[in-house]
Amino acid sequence: MVIESGGESPEQQFDRVVGSVERQVRRALVARYGVDVGVETTADAVAWGWEHLDELDEMKNPAGYLFRVGQTAARRLRRLSRRDLVFPREPAHPDFVPLDTDLFDALRRVSADQRVALILVHGYGFSYSEAAEVLDTSVAAITNHIHRGLRRVRRILEPDNAKR
């Protein structure tokens, strides 16, 4: 194993710089583009991270940068081959409460930014600032997407109860 300056091998550096944020980036890209494209573009982003490890190591927000790399890969991929937005079915409720509309169907019908913010913050429990960092955007933008996204999803899922 080659040990570079500072006593850290490239693999150790990769784990520290890329591995530590890989799961967050993958979740964000999957929320944005669906499971298949999200997983694939995460692979591209992480591969780019390996190639540019030193450059990435000096960045303030490597997760946000890798998300952007994944976005670029997705744009290119989607130009070449339009894909459906693939999500699993929503799990049945443990108390067998009937669910009229699948949550993922509702999430397909909100804007991509709103969908990603909702899944990261309310699904995975990211803080607003954590979500802003991985999406390389502002807390204000996340706040906006959450507020409007929740309103739209409620209107889809709970048309009788949604706040007007």
Partner: protein, 459 residues
């Protein structure tokens, strides 16, 4: 019934399981590695990437290999689209215009000068990271051709620079961590670095750069719904002294740098006035127009009242007045056709004719021709309002590369008003968001269009 938040939490667990399954079952890459990308020690970084990208193309089921190219490696050659004099353009029709000899892009800044059209920056390069452009071009009307700009002193650390024409130079601000300023002189065809204004970055929220009638420049930092630093800060640039001066501050509800209740929806100029449209209130909106007089260094607040009106657009018109139009009703989230004319000098707020088509997020606001306030609607159609006649006109939709009407144009694609025509130097077309991708796609190889706006023929 579980709440939406509870359903999201449970759905995330399901989504993680689907992700794990997709990673585990991903086809092997060309080099035997999997999409789960644990890197073999000692692998050559470049080869590894090319293998991954190549395999990604195979996985996608498409023909061809997406190979990472260096910057500008596929820069197009200038083409031979002729420049047609504006008087010979077919009225209310888009006509091909010579495209700038730089790569297609969006978010670039475009400014009309007295002699041509300036474009610079934008998003995104062909690098895997989608970095921002630092090149640009200038269309010289006298020669009818574009020239690539010399390298600018601005860092391309964001794509959405702002700029204004002083009458001698194009002043450009860009920057993410702090602001950089530079000026391009079309006559000398050269850049010079300028003293930069204060601020965290060049284009937070609705921040804009405006040319004032006296040759000075107004830089308006206008932050929308930041939650921490909402508010407005105006700085005035005097080109002769290369000096930025902080203007008087607005009312407390709009004070910059602290948490304030107001959110800025948009800014515009009319004559020597800067207008700031803001809202206070959580959802259904109490709108106000705050106007800064750059001659008197003072602010005026004109209440619009509680209107159930959100995100209306603001445009400067004649006499220091402003047009508010479009937006949505807070109570229904439906498009709202209302329009108002606000005169800060008298405090009057008068109804204008309703907007005849739904306002889709605009490509550009703030073009004032001296008679018409024009924007390119997000559906690709020029939309113009004549305050003297209280009438709206709707133009023909911009065309795509095949010559068909494009339903939408990509947000943040600037359009300029030059020599009696709208010029769009690098259009992108936005496909309908049928798959939740956000719809942003489709940059043509090279295109530019011009639109001759002839109100009487259209009206």
């Amino acid at each position: 019934m579980p709440s939406v938040e509870e359903r999201l939490q449970r759905a995330a667990v399901t989504l993680d399981a689907a992700i794990d399954e997709a990673v585990a079952s991903a086809p092997s890459r060309a080099d035997g590695t999997q999409l789960s990308y644990r890197l073999p020690p000692g692998r050559d970084r470049r080869r590894f990437t090319v293998a991954l990208v190549s395999a990604a193309a195979i996985v996608a089921g498409v023909v061809g290999v997406a190979v990472v190219a260096g910057p500008n490696s596929d820069r197009p050659e200038p083409n031979d689209v002729p420049v047609i004099p504006v008087e010979r353009l077919e009225p209310n029709t888009w006509t091909p215009f010579p495209p700038p000899p730089i790569e297609p892009r969006f978010q670039y800044v475009a400014v009309a000068t007295d002699s041509g059209v300036f474009v610079w920056g934008g998003c995104c390069t062909d690098s895997p990271a989608g970095d921002f452009f630092r090149d640009g071009a200038y269309f010289d009307a006298a020669s009818g051709s574009w020239r690539v700009l010399p390298e600018s002193p601005l860092d391309p650390d964001r794509g959405d620079a702002i700029a204004a024409w002083t009458g001698a130079e194009v002043v450009v601000l860009n920057g993410n961590d702090g602001i950089q300023a530079a000026a391009f002189d079309p006559a000398a065809f050269s850049w010079r670095a300028l003293t930069a204004p204060s601020g965290d970055n060049a284009t937070s929220g609705s921040s804009e750069l405006f040319a004032l009638p006296d040759g000075r420049i107004a830089f308006v930092i206008a932050i929308y719904d930041d939650g921490l630093r909402n508010g407005v800060h105006v700085q005035i640039y005097d080109p002769s002294a290369d000096q930025w001066t902080a203007a008087a501050g607005p009312r407390a509800e709009l004070s910059y740098g602290v948490a304030v209740p107001a959110s800025v929806l948009g800014v515009a100029t009319s004559d020597a006035n800067v207008g700031v449209l803001s809202v206070i209130g959580p959802d259904c909106s109490t709108l106000s127009l705050d106007t800064y007089s750059t001659t008197a260094d003072s602010w005026t607040t004109t209440p619009i009242g509680t209107t159930d009106w959100h995100r209306s657009d603001i445009a400067g018109i004649d006499g220091g007045r402003f047009l508010l139009s479009g937006g949505t009703r807070c109570s229904t989230d439906e498009p709202d056709p209302r329009a108002l004319i606000v005169d800060p000098s008298t405090g009057s707020v008068d109804p204008a004719a309703d907007v005849p088509i739904p306002l889709v997020r605009g490509v550009l606001e703030g073009i004032w021709t001296g008679q018409w306030a024009i924007r390119l609607n997000g559906d690709g159609r020029p939309l113009a309002y004549d305050p003297a006649g209280d009438r709206w006109l709707v133009g023909a939709s911009v065309l795509d590369a095949s010559g068909a009407a494009a339903d939408t144009v990509i947000w943040q694609t600037p359009v300029v008003w030059f020599d009696g025509q709208l010029v769009i130097a690098s259009p992108g077309y936005e496909r309908a968001d049928t798959d939740g991708s956000g719809g942003m796609c489709c940059f043509p190889e090279r295109e530019a269009w011009t639109y001759r706006f002839v109100p009487d023929a259209d009206g």
